[in-house]
Amino acid sequence: MRHLLDTEDLSRDHAVQILDTAQEMSAVGEREVKKLPALRGRTVVNLFFEDSTRTRISFEAAAKRLSADVINFTAKGSSVSKGESLKDTAQTLEAMSADAVVIRHWASGAPARLANSGWIDAAVINAGDGTHAHPTQALLDAFTMRSHWSKLSGIPSVGADLKGMRIIIAGDVLHSRVARSNVWLLRTLGAHVTLVAPPTLLPVGVEHWPCKVSYDLDATLEAGVDAIMMLRVQAERMKASFFPSTREYARRWGFDDARLATLDRLNLKDTIIMHPGPMNRGLEISSAAADSVRSTVLAQVRNGVSVRMAVLYLLLAGEIRDPQPNSKQNPTAPATAMPAKDNS
């Protein structure tokens, strides 16, 4: 593995390796010395073109626990907002010898562009791009589900996948990179996913995805479920007529108190409720649901650091890549044709 851009091409073995490594990393957070020397001397750049304090500090904590040096580069207030191109920014980071670039970007595909353009030699980790992908979020969600699933089944989680788990992902699928990355990863791990959303918030083409699609949350709950992931819905979507009102949305597609009671009525005592955060309480999730014992919201945050440590470790701890002999001496050499996406 050279970069982590998406979960779509992640093999089952790679995914399980990341989750297993994250499991070892999680033990570090419980020790007195919460630090490992594995990435000493390596530089990780957090390149954020879009605000996300939560994701940034999670990556920062992960990199620091592995003893890497962390540079935070935020588009706001830097030369990026003055019109510096992604290419120039990338080459600046390359000149600073970044070993990994954690990139968050408003444009779908920006991490792929960074990884495949030849502008930079660093490992690229996608920390969320537009409405495309958010692979570390999907991995931490899967990690959270796997812990729960193995506790229920009594099977040790190391080496295990999510075979047979029934998962609902509900909300604004159309604009959700979290939903997309989860659909690919959970499929790879053997889970059964059902997307629940208003038809306006499902992308045209969703019928080709490896999951079921429903417009009816209650009917989907009745069919039985092991984990429910509620997606953030922005109230502004109402203005673009994706739904008539926040009230109607909450009633039809929100996880409210009545649906929380439904889980008890259906005797689904082990079903967990997940949310990638930040939550809109009262819109897609009620406070009672968010704060219930079923909620894994805080566990997800905690697991985020472990998963990101695992990803940084697996991408960076290996062999130092040979410097490209021509890239420094011969800056005028034509960029080589775009290399194929390297997932080896």
Partner: protein
Amino acid sequence: MSSARYLIRSASILGGERADILIQGGIITALGEDLGNEVIGDATVIDARTLIALPGMVDLHTHLREPGREDAETVESGTRAAALGGFTAVHAMANSSPVADTAGVVEQVYSLGRESGWVDVRPVGAVTVGLAGKQLAELGAMADSRARVRVFSDDGICVSDPVMMRRALEYVKAFDGVIAQHAQEPRLTEGAQMNEGKVSAVLGLAGWPAVAEESIIARDVLLAQHVDSRLHVCHVSTAGSVEIIRWAKERGINVTAEVTPHHLLLTEELVRSYNPVYKVNPPLRADSDVQALRKALADGTIDIVGTDHAPHPSEAKECEWAAAAMGMTGLETALSVVQETMIETGLMSWADFARVTSTTPAKIGRVVDQGRPLNVGEPANIVLVDPAARRAVDQTLMATKGRNSPFAGMELPGKVVATFFHGHPTVLDGRLNTPRRLQGATQTGGN
């Protein structure tokens, strides 16, 4: 007029029978098997025994960028590219800066074309002032200018207001003009990045639905019928659009349609790379659309190939997909792509090729001395093609300033060996020769 004489020896005329073509004074003066020495005289002989002779190609859809974006392309660089691509006439789209919405701007572009001397440059006039869609541009003044504009288009932007479109269609009847519509419903394509469907759903790029193109075409053919005027549909890209145009033609509506080379070959699957060289308006569509477009071009539902040559400076493409400019270069690859998609597949003959790349576009644009048959007495606008050649497209070797060729690295058939522009070889041995120089400082219009 040039008095140089050229003999094209034994070329296959439109891919058929072989004949010698003698060119003198800008026209074809003799045509026949084994022209004798008494006819040939001191003519320069071009051995065309392996070549096909076609009428010089006419592009109804070229962005030359001048005035205003000379960093992207100039009339000089764009027309060099055109000559190398086998063209003898191009229509320069109106979305320059300033917009070609007055007689002054179209005459400037026209003059630049004449000075360059590589091909005929026919300016396209804007339909509305500043392409803003609010007020009709002075279409009559442009028609009456030295540039004699006949094609009007806000290309890049759709004339979306139905009343504005109706008025424009009606008004150009006064001087036999045509409205070339960029069919794109603006509200349905706000922020759109790529074809809406299977791939956009995965890539998380805002979708560009086929219906945004098809709904405008449907409206416009009905308007054209209602006011009995001429409509030309630019760069048709969907199977649904083809169906609507087919329906309109069956009803006798005066509509013509165009397809770009890239929409005949490339699909949305390429967008998976997020490489903005594949970002174009209208977007690359699905394979089923590509197949429908090929079929429509072959059966005449789509009348012509227009390149929509849209050069951009490299910084406009060296960025995130969403931030990148839309457009692809096409002049220097059009012939090869059409050969690859239409001729190698057996869908069309070289005579059909001449129809869709020369005869019909010249007719739509009312260019009287282009797109003519290869007969004695006709203007010598001729391109010689080696159909057996194969080449890897190298965008760095092109004459256009744009490096945004989506075909870069692809191996394609066909090579333009020579281009004769009014009897003057602008291209010889596959390389630029010299431009055609007009006699005298003032020129009173060669067409």
